[in-house]
């Protein structure tokens, strides 16, 4: 349906363009004056008046059609008294019957009626969709064509419209942020209506199993997220223990010691490391590193879990090595050459220059890079989903199984989603915590790096 409507819109804008162009030529010939702008601008003017109203209709239909139809179908549904209905399942059943008449066998009469109601509503909606698009395009063209007079400054108007479009494009980023913040806060508030915020932030018991249906004999769930935060922290610490020394030393070597040729080869290779999808690292952790960690633990007499924090953290560390090394490389390169020369000039050798002069000078930038890396590690999902555990565990032992914030978000949303159940909503509360922490780390890191840059400019 929506494909053909796109074709319709394309035909509409093409013909409106041609129409606008020929119309203004005709009009200026009639009046015997030259038009204020080139004919193409008038054509573009008609086109815009044709296109944008049509697009608005198109998107509002695409977004709201299904919901409105469903509401009408449900409100007209002949509920049998005493029977219990699940609205989502009911709708799915009605839709199935409507799309596929062969499913109708053995369904109750209400459902078959509702299905035919549903398909007739869909038909009405389609017809009115096409007619309203055609009408709105004609109206737009009609309005625009009234303005097609030689004394009308089409170019000015078009340029103003272009400005509006550009402003809209740049505000998409703002809308995205607003969308993130509102969806997180809205669902989190629903979560905190059922679970106290203090329990969530300070209690150490995470047992998110609340009976979904009545009569299930699951214990009352408890939502203390401390073990999850602790697990996230542990994995992050392991990752930074791997990535910080390796990344920083690599950056120092590349910036200060390596020849041009080595840099030219190694930098793209590190970029490959940075471009590998995280699920690939997850596979690597699961297949190679986790068995290795388990075997290593056994050899030194520690019983390592197959989903240990160590395996997930080490692989995550490898993932952020290129991140740290490229950021630190930039930072080290922006330390003024004069500092290096002064230090070498009074007789210090290269290592001493780096350790006593360059690193202290670059320290704020390096700290900023580390903070960004930490924020990256906390938000990383796929490695931990595959290689870390799902059971919360409050421990400092990296050989044990831990879980992280991102894992719990995935676990809460991967099965049945019930948006009136705290278990599903807990994903949004955890997401909010994650968002706030990473945002905070980023703002600090960007501030530090910015100040650092200003110092040497």
């Amino acid at each position: 349906m929506f494909f053909w409507s796109l074709v319709l819109i394309a035909v509409g804008i093409f013909s409106s363009f041609i129409y606008g162009r020929s119309r203004i030529k005709l009009n200026s010939k009639k009046q015997g004056t030259k038009s204020k702008s080139l004919p193409n601008y008038y054509a573009q003017y008609v086109l815009m008046w044709c296109l944008f109203p049509a697009l608005i209709v198109y998107f509002s239909w695409a977004i709201f059609q299904e919901q409105i139809i469903q509401n009408i179908v449900i409100s007209n549904f002949e509920f049998i008294e005493g029977a219990v209905y699940n609205e989502g399942l009911l709708l799915a059943e009605i839709r199935n019957v409507a799309n596929n008449p062969s499913f109708a066998d053995g369904k109750s009469i209400e459902i078959i009626n509702a299905a035919s109601h549903y398909s007739s509503l869909r038909q009405i909606s389609q017809i009115s969709f096409y007619t309203s698009i055609i009408i709105i395009m004609l109206l737009g063209a009609l309005y625009a064509s009234q303005k097609l007079k030689p004394e009308f400054h089409a170019q000015h108007t078009i340029e103003k419209y272009i400005q509006y479009i550009l402003i809209f494009c740049s505000s998409v980023a703002i809308f995205t942020t607003i969308g993130i913040v509102f969806s997180l806060i809205f669902e989190s508030l629903r979560f905190f209506a059922e679970v106290s915020i203090f329990e969530f932030l300070f209690s150490t018991e995470w047992y998110p199993f609340i009976p979904i249906r009545e009569g299930q004999t699951a214990a009352e769930g408890s939502f203390g997220a401390v073990p999850i935060f602790a697990g996230t922290f542990l994995v992050m610490v392991v990752a930074m223990c791997v990535a910080a020394p390796l990344g920083l030393l690599t950056a120092i070597y590349l910036a200060e010691y390596a020849s041009q040729r080595v840099r030219k080869i190694v930098k793209p290779l590190l970029e490959i490391l940075a471009g590998i999808p995280t699920i690939v690292y997850g596979f690597f952790a699961f297949v190679s590193v986790a068995p290795f960690v388990k075997a290593f633990g056994q050899s030194i007499g520690i019983d390592a879990s197959p989903t240990s924090a160590l395996a997930a953290g080490m692989v995550m560390g490898v993932m952020i090595i290129p991140f740290i090394s490229s950021l630190s490389d930039d930072v080290i390169n922006s330390v003024p050459q004069s500092l290096r020369e002064a230090s070498l000039g009074i007789g210090a050798n290269k290592a001493e220059t780096i350790k006593k002069v360059i690193l202290p000078a670059a320290l704020p930038g390096i700290v900023g890079a580390f903070l960004l890396a930490i924020s990256r590690a906390i938000g990383e999902t796929m490695i931990v989903v595959v290689a870390a555990g799902t059971a919360p565990n409050l421990t400092g032992n990296p050989f044990e199984n831990v879980t992280t914030v991102t894992v719990q978000i995935v676990v809460a949303l991967i099965g049945d989603q019930e948006f009136d159940n705290p278990r599903t909503l807990s994903a949004f509360a955890l997401g909010l915590v994650l968002f706030v922490i990473t945002l905070f780390l980023n703002i600090i890191a960007l501030q530090i790096v910015k100040r650092y840059r200003e110092r040497y400019e």
């Binding site: 272009i162 809209f168 494009c169 993130i180 997180l184 030393l249 471009g275 991967i414």
Partner: protein, 426 residues
Amino acid sequence: MNNSIAKEKIVSLRKKRSLEDMRFKYYGFTAMCLSLAVLVFLLYTIFSKGYTAFQKTIVLLEVDYNQEVLKLTPDSSDEDMEKGKFFRVKKQAIENFFPDLSKSDIKLVKKLFSINVDKEIKDYFLDNPEVINTKQQIWVTAHSDVDQLLKGNSRRDVPEDRRKLNDIQLSYVDQLVEENRVKQVFNNFFFTKADSRHPEIAGVAGSFMGSLFTLFTVFILSFPIAIGASVYLEEFAPKNRITELIEVNISNLAAVPSIVFGLLGLGVLLNVFGLPRSTPLVGGSVLALMTLPTIIIACRASLKAVPPSIKEGALAVGATKTQAVFHHVVPLALPGTLTGTIIGLAQALGETAPLIMIGMIAFIPNIPTGLTEPSAALPVQIYLWVESAERGFQEKSAAAIMVILIFLFMMNAIAVFLRNRFERKW
């Protein structure tokens, strides 16, 4: 006397210091080599685990297309042929697979074949209807357990209850190998089929198409919006608080964890707007929002690289600002923006977590044909296979990783090519 002691001290100190220098350089070198060694080890792991997935095991089966068993006649219409009783032919073929099979052994032998064999027997017949009432030797797909055993991925020296194939089945497989009735050929299913519960007929075609549709959506949404936003911020925006807010916002969005974008997609696109779950349309929209900052940053850099003299020249001969920007600056910056977009798309291709959030993790056994059809995506497919308990899926996941890495490599190669070919140094 004192002089020489001091000299000795200085010499030894210098030696120590230069040793320290060497050591420090060596540390850096080792760190770099370690990082690269991990890269090599990672690629080696993927290759060594995955290359076997490009082969499948097939078994020679003698099928008797008897017209009575099939309930067909040589001049049945095509429609009737479709309805032939091929499962009975298959049953017969398996009963006669080895001479003198007991009833319990028939059950065991049946488990050596893929579930797809029915269809293969049928397809062979429909392609060559003249084989009716003849005995045909057909190569059919073996079960994943046989496949894994012959590839050496599952071990036969573990106790029987921890193996997929028991001792009797093993002896039959050995007999097949001896009689040359089993061989390994190129696995065309891996590239032509969608996901399946049975590893031997699971492929990446479905998730590959899903990823293509998703990337298409990302491109359609993010490319124009990113160009619009960066042109505005770079060329038109007044220097005020709102502009600054937008800029800070973009740089912060670039660092928001991808899973949070998934929550945005779930909370807003699915729950508020009611867009269809598990579809490339929603997945692409979420990934487009996620990659937008990356692309905007790249676009702005390439717009900045166009020298102001070009714009000033246009302005001097009477162009308006809009004309100067859109006729002169943007076309010159286009290769750079395209490069940035491709790199953003490459990032979107490998992203998994947001797609899981919006339900692209559902089991989809057919190949999607449109943007609003439920479909899988390559990285999510890899995740599903990694998590699967079935042994046969592990090699599939590694092979799917190879596919995605080759795809990524090609995209980056195109980006580099564009950069080298079209980017001008001023």
